[in-house]
């Protein structure tokens, strides 16, 4: 008379066939899609000399190469340091990605420097004396200075931020009187700070004098080190030659893994129910007095003194007439008279309580209820 209801292993396998097939299909589809897709990291990386998208700067790199400039695209400051000589130009397009220690290394490297859209906090290290003033809308601007590279190029699409130039420096492409390009020449080394590098991108290079300025700035030396800081460019190990992670014994990591496995086992132990959850259809719980209470609240919220008083009076009258042996719909005066005779109260007062005007407020209603009670009690007691 008993029948097993648990699924057999074969049954489980059959039930899992379709979901497993779907899962496999999804994994395959995801793998193929990932393989087909081009490397996302390379796509649209701003001012990357290897990037051919509108954001990149491949066109500039090619032009430079045609003019005999060797372009070294590097991702680490250490690589840049290896290549840097007096005869190189270093371009930094996003200083924010360079770590603080490496920033110092970078600042100490020999050769010319072109810094595009610098992170304001990095400026004192990279180019002492230059600070960021305010923002400027990128647009075509006239050189307005005597820097040969700028005067030769003419109008250039510049903007981004404006700088305050030190006295020995020269500012060009002014926005609201502040330069967006600052060039400082010291001891044969030139450092150029640009508020925006948009003019060097593949999209803008052909406009105005953009190409000319870019070539003048970057092609001054035969070697160009284009620093595209990589997020993987970590600072070198600390003093002891070991990082924090190296100091943790390997056993701890593996023990953590073992702990996770133990937690999974405990979860499986606690999570397995002994049999199904039993549900039961329960009857609704409706209290019979709910409608009466609801009407009471409705009276209160609408301040229905008159209706409430009428109901209270009708109830009291019904009980009093019953006790007095009068007909329910007897003449009100007769009832009042009968009550006055029984209780010895003033008939006018009794009539006021039983048939008077409706109360004007909650307080009066409460008083009326008490008065009705008194009359009723007196009739009962007489």
């Amino acid at each position: 008379m008993s029948t097993p209801t648990s699924p057999t292993i074969r049954g489980i396998a059959r039930a899992l066939r379709l979901p497993l097939a779907l899962l496999l299909l999804m994994v395959v589809a995801a793998t193929v899609a990932t393989l087909i897709q081009p490397d996302e990291r390379r796509q649209g990386r701003h001012l990357d000399p290897a990037d051919t998208s509108a954001q990149g700067a491949k066109a500039l790199a090619v032009l430079l190469a045609e003019r005999g400039v060797t372009v070294h695209r590097v991702e680490r400051v250490a690589e840049a340091a290896e290549l840097a000589t007096d005869d190189t130009t270093i371009v930094v397009t996003s200083s924010v990605r360079v770590g603080l220690e490496q920033l110092t290394t970078l600042a100490e490297l020999p050769g010319d420097r072109v810094i595009v859209d610098p992170f304001p906090q990095d400026l004192p290290t990279l180019v002492p004396g230059v600070t960021v003033e305010s923002g400027a809308r990128p647009t075509s601007r006239l050189p307005g200075c005597s820097l040969p590279a700028a005067t030769a190029a003419g109008t250039v699409f510049t903007g981004g931020v404006t700088f305050s130039a030190p006295e020995h420096g020269e500012g060009c492409y002014h926005a609201d009187g502040e330069p967006t390009l600052v060039s400082i020449a010291e001891e044969g080394v030139r450092t150029v700070v640009l508020g925006d590098g948009e003019f060097m991108t593949n999209r803008r290079l052909a406009e105005d004098g953009n190409a000319a300025l870019a070539l003048n700035l970057l092609g001054a030396r035969p070697n160009l080190i284009w620093l595209m800081p990589s997020p993987l460019d970590r600072p070198p190990p600390g003093e002891g030659g070991e990082s924090f992670e190296d100091l943790i014994p390997a056993g701890v990591l593996w023990a953590t893994l073992q702990l996770v496995i133990a937690v999974v086992f405990v979860a499986l132990w606690r999570g397995r129910r002994l049999g199904p959850v039993v549900s039961e259809a329960l009857p609704v719980v409706v209290r019979a007095a709910e409608t009466v209470e609801g009407r009471g609240r409705l009276y209160r919220s609408r301040h229905a003194h008159d209706r409430a008083a009428a109901a209270l009076r009708a109830g009291a009258l019904g009980r009093i007439t019953g006790r007095l042996g009068l007909n329910h719909d007897a003449d009100p005066d007769a009832i009042t008279q009968a009550i006055a005779v029984r209780t010895g109260r003033d008939p006018v007062q009794v009539a006021e309580v039983l048939h008077g005007p409706p109360p004007a407020g909650d307080a009066e209603l409460v008083v009326l209820a008490d008065q009705l009670d008194t009359v009723e009690r007196e009739v009962r007691g007489s």
Binding site: P4, Q258, L268
Partner: protein
């Protein structure tokens, strides 16, 4: 399958081993491998749950409030011992105890597992499933399986008003004239002639019969017998409302049972009909001895449904069942709008052929509210309660004018009040 806490504990201890092992990676691999092996071994060596055979024995009926034992006999025809836990699952309102049973079943043997149910609700309670967790010898893992072993326990209405039955039967005996005090039977139907004994009422002497015999002969009366009583339970929405903590329907059932017990003793034929928009249950043609069991059995699974009762349909069902004149006891609520739109429209059809008695469970809470004083909130509630009471009185008066007798009493007294009303009708010979 299921794991035990022991597996988790071993894995946890493994953490310490891994922490100090010279080659922790390998240690993790070895520990997991050993654990997996032990678990698989345990699963293979555990007794089969699928092979177990179950049968049930025990009671199928219980009064609400009482306990009932249901036995589960587990047979293990397999070759391995089954050791572990068994859960005999029942609906929550059946309150099974204990919830879990430890089992230890050697191969080829049977064991009895006893579950005590103390149901807290009327109706049928069906056994859900039996689940067994069979541990392996190492206690690391267990096989788990579920079996369906059907069994139904019917929870009958409690019939609390049984305690009033003695008093009401004494009253009935008084009516029948069989009271020890030799009071003249107050029934209205001529029963028999018998010899006068001292103490008999001299008014009951039958002079004509006395003249024919040498003895003084008295007439005895007995109450009318073999009348029909049809109890109609309204199972519509108004019966679902709770008075105190129990639905009106349950109080009505209690009253119906007392009335049925009394009427059966009085020699009347009692039938039952439960109706909302369809016939929910009916009992008819039961003999005096089988009537009460049949009634409680029929009433047990009925729950009030949240629909408006269909008065014309109910009338048709009543008229189809009660061809001869009978006492019609309607157990419903004195809900003015529901009655005005329902019963009152079809009442003439019923009163024309039958004697109609309407019994309603009043809510003592309303009287409590009506007496409330002391603040605006209480007084407004009191006014609302007065209004409800007035409505109830008005509908009672309307029904009385239409020839319907109304019994309106709170749940504690509805059963004796209804019995008294029945006895009064019987004494008056109105059945």
């Amino acid at each position: 399958m299921a794991l035990t806490g022991r597996t988790g504990l071993l894995a946890l201890l493994g953490t310490i081993v891994v922490l100090f092992a010279p080659r922790p990676g390998l240690a993790v691999l070895v520990i997991e491998g050993l654990l997996l092996l032990a678990v698989v071994l345990d699963l293979c060596l555990a007794g089969s749950v699928r092979a177990l055979r179950f049968t049930r024995e025990g009671e199928r009926l219980v009064r609400l409030g009482d306990s009932v034992t249901v036995d589960l006999i587990v047979a293990n025809p397999g070759r391995r011992r089954v050791r572990g836990l068994l859960r005999d699952a029942w609906p929550p309102s059946a309150h099974p105890a204990p919830r879990l049973h430890p089992v230890d079943l050697p191969a080829g043997e049977r064991r009895r597992v006893r579950t005590v149910l103390t149901p807290s609700r009327r109706g049928d309670r069906e056994a859900v499933r039996v689940t067994v967790r069979s541990l392996g010898p190492l206690g690391l893992a267990a096989r788990q399986g579920t079996h369906a072993v059907p069994w139904t326990v019917r929870v009958l209405p409690p019939f609390h008003s049984r305690r009033h039955l003695g008093a009401k039967l004494a009253k009935l005996r008084e009516l029948q004239g069989s009271h020890p005090a030799l009071i003249r039977g107050q029934g209205t139907e001529f029963d028999s002639l018998r010899e006068y004994v001292i103490g008999d009422d001299i008014r009951s002497i039958d002079w004509r019969a006395t003249a024919r015999r040498s003895d003084v002969v008295v007439r005895t009366w007995r109450p009318e017998r073999d009348r029909r009583v049809l109890i109609v339970l309204d199972t519509g929405r108004t019966s679902a409302a709770r008075v105190g903590d129990i639905p009106r329907l349950d109080s009505a059932m209690d009253a119906a049972l007392l009335l049925a017990a009394l009427a059966a003793r009085a020699g009347d034929r009692v039938d039952l009909l439960a109706y909302d928009r369809q016939v929910r249950t009916q009992v008819s043609g039961e003999s005096r001895t089988t009537l009460l069991p049949a009634l409680v059995n029929a009433m047990a699974p009925i729950e009030a449904s949240l629909v408006e009762a269909d008065a014309p349909g109910m009338t048709a069902a009543i008229l189809a069942r009660a061809r001869r004149r009978c006492l019609l006891v309607l157990l419903t609520d004195l809900n003015p709008p529901a009655l005005e739109e329902g019963l009152l429209t079809v009442l003439p059809e019923l009163t024309a052929r039958h004697l109609v008695l309407l019994a309603a469970v009043a809510d003592p809470r309303i009287a409590e509210l009506a007496a409330g004083r002391g603040g605006a909130e209480a007084v407004y509630d009191a006014a609302s309660a007065e209004r409800a009471l007035a409505d109830r009185q008005a509908i009672t008066a309307t029904l009385a004018r239409r020839g319907v007798q109304v019994v309106d009493a709170p749940p504690e007294t509805i059963a004796p009040a209804l019995a008294d009303a029945y006895l009064a009708l019987k004494a008056a010979g109105r059945l």
